[in-house]
Structure formats: structure tokens, C-alpha cells
Symmetry: C2
Subunit: 209 residues, 2 copies
DNA sequence: TAGACTGTTGACTGCTCAGTCATTTTTTTA
DNA sequence: TAAAAAAATGACTGAGCAGTCAACAGTCTA
């Protein structure tokens, strides 16, 4: 009965994945609150309403849980950002799309962003270098679009990669500030300001006649 | 013999301060490498070539050592940035001064910046909120200068505080990127690009005739 | 329903590390 | 140079926590 075996195995996997995602959700919350080092596996277990032993059935270590949380969310963020960028037409629109995608995702997944922005890179975990790797592709897409816009003289001739990273920095900075305090402005206002600011900088210098 | 007592006490204080600053230096290095949580007092002691017990003669706790490191360096950074801003004339020059002061200090005090940019805020330590407090004043000075430049129509009419924080974000972002990887550009190039970029954005929109 | 099997549990173990303090070393005083 | 004072030391203690595992609970099979 190979089909049945197949069936059983699949069911098992489904349950296992469900448990894993439950644990990841609990861990995300705890890590966002305490940071990697200060968070305990007991807390994650309590948050997930499971015993510690059960956690270790589905994950090998605290570190692996942490990596699972980050990989999961970084992957989704990357996919979404790339999607939005691809859907946009001009370089300026792609930049808007980038900024907006980040702001939106940050609102939706506050805990993930807290981990991203607040976590030390020096833990024995997925380093910020690895995380940066994940963020690289969207930024690179921006750079490509910027490059061709520069060729068409639509925007000032600056190094495209540098410009793209600058857009990323502005977005990160604004989001970090929002996460750090109680923001006095709405996310929309902040995002719009950023986009306006970037567009102003990109405006090619007026040609002297 | 009050003078002698005075003398003795002063000498004691001098020695004590010397020891403290030795410990702070060692701690800065270790914290920069490992982060607050992962760093151990034993490592700091080894780095300072002292026994752990001696550390506890001059500081009450690991947390206090950490705070001493940050307060010390944040204070110097703030003072220097304010100085440079004050010395500059126009708003644009003040912005340059801000960016340059940060870049310079970052080169000089790599370890401090590593702690600043890489440390979790969630440790039971001087929070990023407190650190932000320290960074607030220079940014505010920038905002003041920007405000009056806007009044003179020298730069685009955007919210001054927001603009000032944007300058800070750009600087922080660029420095973080430099610290994260092996930079392919010089600090000068990065700083100059930033300043150019900001100036381009600040350029008032050309008036249509 | 007995027995086998799968998933869950939380008390327990071993290790790390912040902080202590009785002892030793160095410096000062007389 | 001997006694007293100050500074430095590092072995030790207790707390906290990652990871384990023998026992238990729930589910399926014959």
C-alpha cells in the first residue's frame, strides 16, 4: 500500500510543519521582545503553549529556531519587495515601490522588524552579513533601474549602486526611528516625505543655457 | 594637614580614574567584538591585564561598565559634532560638518561605532532610546539651521526636524554599511557622495516663469 | 480492549558566568 | 626596615539556562 504510506507520511509532515510554524510564531514574538541572547527556550515554549521538550522535537537548538524565524520572514520580505519593484514601471516608481513595500511590511510584521533592527549581529546566529545578503537583491534591482534612468538622463548621474543603497538606508532609518519611539507622524506621511525627498535629489541639475 | 589630605585624595582619585579608563578601554574592545551579552567580565579583565576582582573594585557590575563605555564615547561624539556644527556657517555647511564629524569619529573609534550600531537595545542596559537622546541635540541643531535656511528660501520647504533626522539616517546607514562589510569606497568618497546627494535634494525647486 | 506506537512532558544535568571575599602582594608610613 | 594600610587577586558560590530523556498520554491497529 504505497499510497497509504505516502498519505501517512504527508499527514505527518503537515502536522510537523504546523507545529514548526506555531513555534516560529511564538519565537518571533519572544525574540522581538528580548533579543536572541536574553530570550529563553522556556519562554518560547510557554508562548507556544508547549513543553520545552516538544520544542526540541521540532528544532535542534535555540539558534536553529532563530534562524528559522529570520529566514522565513526575510524570504517573504524579499519576495514581496521584488514583486512590487517588478510591477512598477519607471525607476522612480520602483523606488516608491521599494519604500512602500518596506513600510507596509513593517506595519504588518512589527515583531520581525524589531528583530531585524534591534538585534546584535554578534550573536552566534545568522549574521547581519547574511541578512544583508537577503536585502541585496531588491537593492540591486533598484540599481539596475536607476542605471538605465541615468542613461536616459531622467535622473542625476550618480553611482547607481550607491544611490540604491542610499534609498535603502533612508527607508531603514525612518523605520528604525518609528520603531524606537512613539511616532508622531503616520507611516504614510513618513513614506511620502522620503519619496519626495529622494525624487528631489534625483532631479537632474537644470542645464544652464 | 588639609592640603596633604587633599593631595592624597586627589592622587587616589587620579589612580582610580586611570584604572577606570583602562578598564573602559578593554571593555570597549571586548563589547565591540562580542556584544554585551556574549562578552564576559573575565574577558574584559584579561584584556585589561587585571584580575576579575579588581574590575569589581572600580565598577559595581558588568552593566555599569557597559554604561560607562557608552556614556564616555557618546558624550565625546556629541561634543565634537556640536562643535563642528557650531563652527560651520550656513545650513548646508552645518550638514556637511555633521556628516564629516561622524565619518571622522567612526574612523577613529571603530570599536565604539561597532557597539553603537551592532548592539541590541533589548539588553538590560543603556537603551537605544537613551542613546538616541544623546544624538538628538546635534540633529536638533541641524534642524534649527535648516529652518532658518528654509525661511530664506535657500532650501526646499520641508519639515526641518524630519529633514535633519533624514541627514542623520543617511549618515548612520552609510557608516553601518562600511562597518558591516569591507568597503570598496573610501570614507571621503562616501561622505562626499552623501553631502552632494543631500544638497541636491535641498535645492529649492526651480521656479517656473 | 490489549498492545504497539507516536507525540508530549517537565524534572533533571552539566555548564557558564556574574559577583564575592578571604588571602596575598604592593605601597605607604613612621 | 617593620608595621599598617591599600590594592589586587582568583578560587569559589549561586543562579540561570540550553539541551536530555525516562515516563506519560493519546491514538491507532488487530
Amino acid at each position: 500500500m504505497p499510497e497509504l504510506a505516502q498519505q501517512i507520511k504527508t499527514k505527518k509532515q503537515v502536522v510537523s510543519e504546523f507545529r514548526q510554524s506555531e513555534i516560529i510564531s511564538a519565537a518571533r514574538k519572544v525574540f522581538a521582545e528580548k533579543g536572541y541572547m536574553a530570550a529563553t527556550v522556556d519562554e518560547i515554549a510557554a508562548e507556544a503553549a508547549l513543553a520545552k521538550g516538544t520544542i526540541y522535537v521540532y528544532f535542534e537548538s535555540k539558534e536553529q529556531i532563530y534562524n528559522a524565524v529570520l529566514e522565513n520572514d526575510l524570504d517573504a520580505l524579499r519576495a514581496r519587495t521584488l514583486e512590487q519593484i517588478a510591477a512598477a514601471g519607471t525607476a522612480r516608481e520602483k523606488i516608491s515601490a521599494y519604500v512602500n513595500a518596506r513600510f507596509k511590511y513593517c506595519e504588518e510584521r512589527r515583531d520581525f522588524f524589531r528583530i531585524m533592527y534591534i538585534e546584535p549581529s554578534s550573536s552566534p546566529v545568522l549574521s547581519k552579513a547574511k541578512a544583508r545578503e537577503w536585502l541585496r537583491e531588491p537593492v540591486h534591482q533598484l540599481a539596475v533601474a536607476i542605471e538605465s534612468a541615468i542613461a536616459k538622463k531622467l535622473i542625476s548621474p550618480w553611482p547607481p549602486e550607491l544611490l540604491a543603497w542610499t534609498v535603502a538606508d533612508l527607508t531603514t532609518g525612518a523605520l528604525q526611528r518609528r520603531l524606537a519611539g512613539t511616532p508622531t507622524t503616520t507611516a504614510r506621511e513618513d513614506a511620502d516625505f522620503l519619496i519626495e525627498f529622494i525624487n528631489a535629489a534625483l532631479r537632474p541639475a537644470q542645464v544652464e543655457n
